[in-house]
């Protein structure tokens, strides 16, 4: 048996981007997230895995305060982004979400043109001074979303007319257009076919160079393919967190082992 915690500390040369400490989330009376403490590194893909209803999506949404839109949801504990508590009363969630972008489970382009989809974020944040500026931002984002070549000739046709995989990459392009530091992805491939999934996974791997990416996934193969770190959630608890290779080959907790071998879940 390896002593995995020491191994982890040895390999940790990267900075901590997000540090969650003792996070509790309640939906009304339900205690959805219990005592979760996790440190997410920058320029790394971190995967959250676990059975349905284990709280992985809920925890993801606490990271950019999307849970604020749900009236009955309460969050306790601290989540530090670059050392600043995002639940501090002085923090405006709108400003936070510009830094922590999000891609959703179902591709959800605005029913507008491809160009306007990507340009919307930069526009409302006043990131461009001129039309040419904006054009450049849009092109950059679409290139990063690995969809530029497919759409460059029809930037002004509706985004909803694209295929599912293209729509999801458009959504990723839209998310990176505001130049976030962290990109949260809530099961981004669950509505896609294997080929589109492959393209998105490749894209996630490229995005790692600039962002820290947190991805929630149902597919353990996907977690193994794209992530460097993996967190396993079960019944609202963070059971185990470590290097992906270690989690999948040598889990410490028996529950993790049961899950990845298919005995629970």
């Amino acid at each position: 048996m390896y002593d995995s915690p020491t191994l982890e500390t040895k390999l940790d040369t990267k900075n901590i981007k997000i540090a969650a400490d003792n996070v509790q989330v309640y939906y009304g009376e339900t205690h959805a997230i219990k005592d979760v403490s996790v440190q997410i590194q920058e320029k790394t893909v971190t995967a959250f895995i676990g059975p349905s209803g284990c709280g992985k999506s809920t925890f993801l949404r606490t990271l950019n305060r999307m849970n604020d839109t749900i009236d009955i949801c309460r969050v306790q504990g601290t989540i530090l982004l670059d050392g600043e508590n995002i639940y501090d009363p002085r923090v405006d969630p709108v400003q936070l979400r510009a830094k922590v972008g999000m891609v959703f489970q179902k591709p959800n382009p605005f029913p507008k043109s491809i160009y306007d989809n990507v340009a919307y974020g930069p526009r409302i944040h006043g990131m461009s001074k001129s039309k040419a500026d904006l054009d450049q931002i849009v092109e950059m984002a679409l290139r990063r979303g690995a969809i530029w070549d497919e759409v460059k000739d029809r930037l002004h046709s509706p985004g909803t007319g694209l295929s599912g995989g293209q729509q999801q990459r458009l959504c990723i392009a839209r998310a990176v257009a505001t130049e976030p530091e962290v990109l949260l992805m809530d099961e981004p491939c669950s509505a896609l076919d294997p080929i589109a999934t492959g393209q998105v996974e490749e894209l996630i791997d490229e995005l790692r160079e600039d962002y820290s990416v947190v991805i929630v996934t149902h597919s353990m193969q996907q977690a193994a393919r794209v992530s460097q770190k993996t967190a396993f959630f079960h019944l609202g608890n963070l059971v185990e967190y470590g290097d992906t290779s270690q989690i999948f080959t040598n889990p410490v907790d028996p529950r993790t082992e049961s899950y990845i071998t298919g005995r629970i879940g």
Binding site: V94, R97, M102, F104, K106, F110, P111, Y120, I124, A175
Partner: protein, 455 residues
């Protein structure tokens, strides 16, 4: 993976073996098919009954209402005698005004008698004034207005097209018979003989009557002159008030309730009460308008402004309910997408949700307006019904503040009057009202089709 552990060799549940071939219907299937067939027949019968009612309704409306759009006119060369109209001969309008319409009816009677002689029509009447009943009493006013506008025409003979009296018109439309005239002091059967001959001579004609669509209401004794135009303007001014007030208030209220308001018991109470308001009888809004707008705030009675305010109260719940429904229909993923790129709540609503809900909102608004346009009961209570003697409102302010009627109230008023000629006009008014309502509904459908988006 979980599935793999469950689906062991536990064995399939043994199905009861059904006997017989698939090519034969068993008893249960036959019964089910029969029930299905019966249900379809019930459905078709229900639709059929509805269609029959609709057809009967439309047929009746058209049959009774169409005659109101034509009117009988008599072509009459009238000699504008200087001796009677302008004794001093200096064409001074102030002096000409002294001659009342009474003075003009003599001219008309003489003109009628002369035209009978010209056409070689034998008249059983000795005196020219007996012919008076053939012509509408509006004719004298019509000629007087002409003379006052063109004093230089005095002394000449001018061709006028005057309205025939409503009894003659009714005879032309088959509503009045000789038998019915026995007890009618407004017209004698002998007049009808003259009318027949005038018609044969081409002097008496039935034509499309624009004045019915554009004109003002007339007194009880001259239905032939009455038109729906002024009350149409009254309706228009009311609808302007309703649109300008209810659309912004309704949309603002629904956006707040749907997107921003916390979900607690206060908003629940508000929600229930909005639904209740939509079910309140419209006459209740009428009496509320009477008490608040007219008696308390002391706005002018019978004014389209007050009517519009009352109808706004009535339309608001409809608009709020339909706006909230169309806001709810915008998928939450759009809101998430906007929030996810760092839009504020308000930006997500105004940039994305509201534009997507717009077709629904507009449709609801137009349907609410259409409902308000056809509403009569509240208008009864604020005095927008009755004989409005004033003609066209002069200017916008007077359009909002002067006493006026509205189309449905005008129809109600006509239907109330004794003369059958007014009954016909009530049906005609209903046709015009229905044309307006249908136009609005078609606009609503076009808007919905045009701006409907898929996601």
């Amino acid at each position: 993976m979980t599935d793999a552990s469950i689906s062991g060799p536990a064995g399939k549940p043994q199905l009861k073996k059904t006997s017989g071939s698939l090519l034969e219907l068993d008893k249960g299937t036959r019964r089910r098919n029969a029930a299905e067939k019966r249900f379809r027949i019930y459905g078709m019968a229900a639709v059929g009954v509805g269609l029959i009612f609709l057809l009967v309704l439309l047929f009746t409306i058209v049959r009774n209402g169409v005659p109101a759009f034509t009117q009988t006119f008599i072509e009459l060369p009238v000699e504008l005698s200087e001796a009677k109209l302008d004794k001093s001969g200096n064409r001074d309008v102030e002096e000409i005004k002294k001659v009342t319409t009474f003075g003009y009816s003599g001219l008309i009677n003489d003109a009628l008698a002369a035209s009978l002689v010209n056409e070689g029509i034998t008249s059983p009447f000795k005196k020219a004034s007996d012919l008076n009943k053939l012509v509408s009493s509006s004719a004298a006013a019509q000629i007087r207005d002409y003379v006052l506008a063109n004093p230089d025409q005095i002394g000449k003979t001018v061709n006028f097209e005057v309205l025939a009296s409503s009894r003659v018109d009714g005879y032309e439309k088959g509503r009045v018979t000789r038998v019915a005239l026995v007890n009618d002091k407004n017209l004698d059967a002998a007049h009808l003989d003259v009318a027949d001959q005038l018609k044969a001579a081409g002097t008496l004609k039935r034509k499309f009557n624009w004045a019915f669509i554009t004109g003002a209401d007339a007194s009880e004794s001259r239905p032939e002159q009455a038109g729906i135009g002024v009350s149409m303007l009254g309706s228009l001014f009311m609808m302007l008030v309703v649109l300008v007030l209810s659309l912004p208030i309704g949309v603002a209220a629904s956006v707040y309730l749907e997107e921003f308001a916390p979900k607690n018991w206060i908003t629940d109470v508000i929600e229930v009460n909005i639904s209740n308001l939509a079910a309140v009888p419209s006459i209740v809004f009428g009496i509320l308008g009477l008490a608040v707008f007219i008696q308390f705030i002391e706005l002018p009675q019978s004014a389209p402004l007050v009517g519009g305010l009352v109808l706004t109260l009535m339309t608001l719940p409809t608009i709020i309910i339909s706006t909230r429904a169309s806001l709810k229909a915008v998928p939450p993923s759009i809101r998430d997408a906007a929030l996810g790129v760092g839009a504020s709540k308000m930006q997500s609503v105004f940039h994305h949700v509201l534009p997507l809900a717009m077709p629904g909102i507009l449709t609801g608004t137009i349907l609410g307006l259409a409902q308000a346009l056809g509403e009569t009961a509240p208008l009864l209570l604020i005095g927008m019904v009755g004989y409005i003697a004033s003609n066209y409102p002069d200017g916008i302010a007077s359009g909002f503040l002067d006493p006026n009627s509205a189309m449905p109230a005008q129809i109600y008023e006509w239907a109330k009057r004794a003369d059958p000629a007014y009954y016909e006009r009530a049906w005609g008014g209903i046709i015009i009202l229905l044309v307006f309502l249908m136009t609005m509904n078609i606009i609503a459908i076009i808007l919905r089709r045009r701006f409907e988006r898929r996601w």
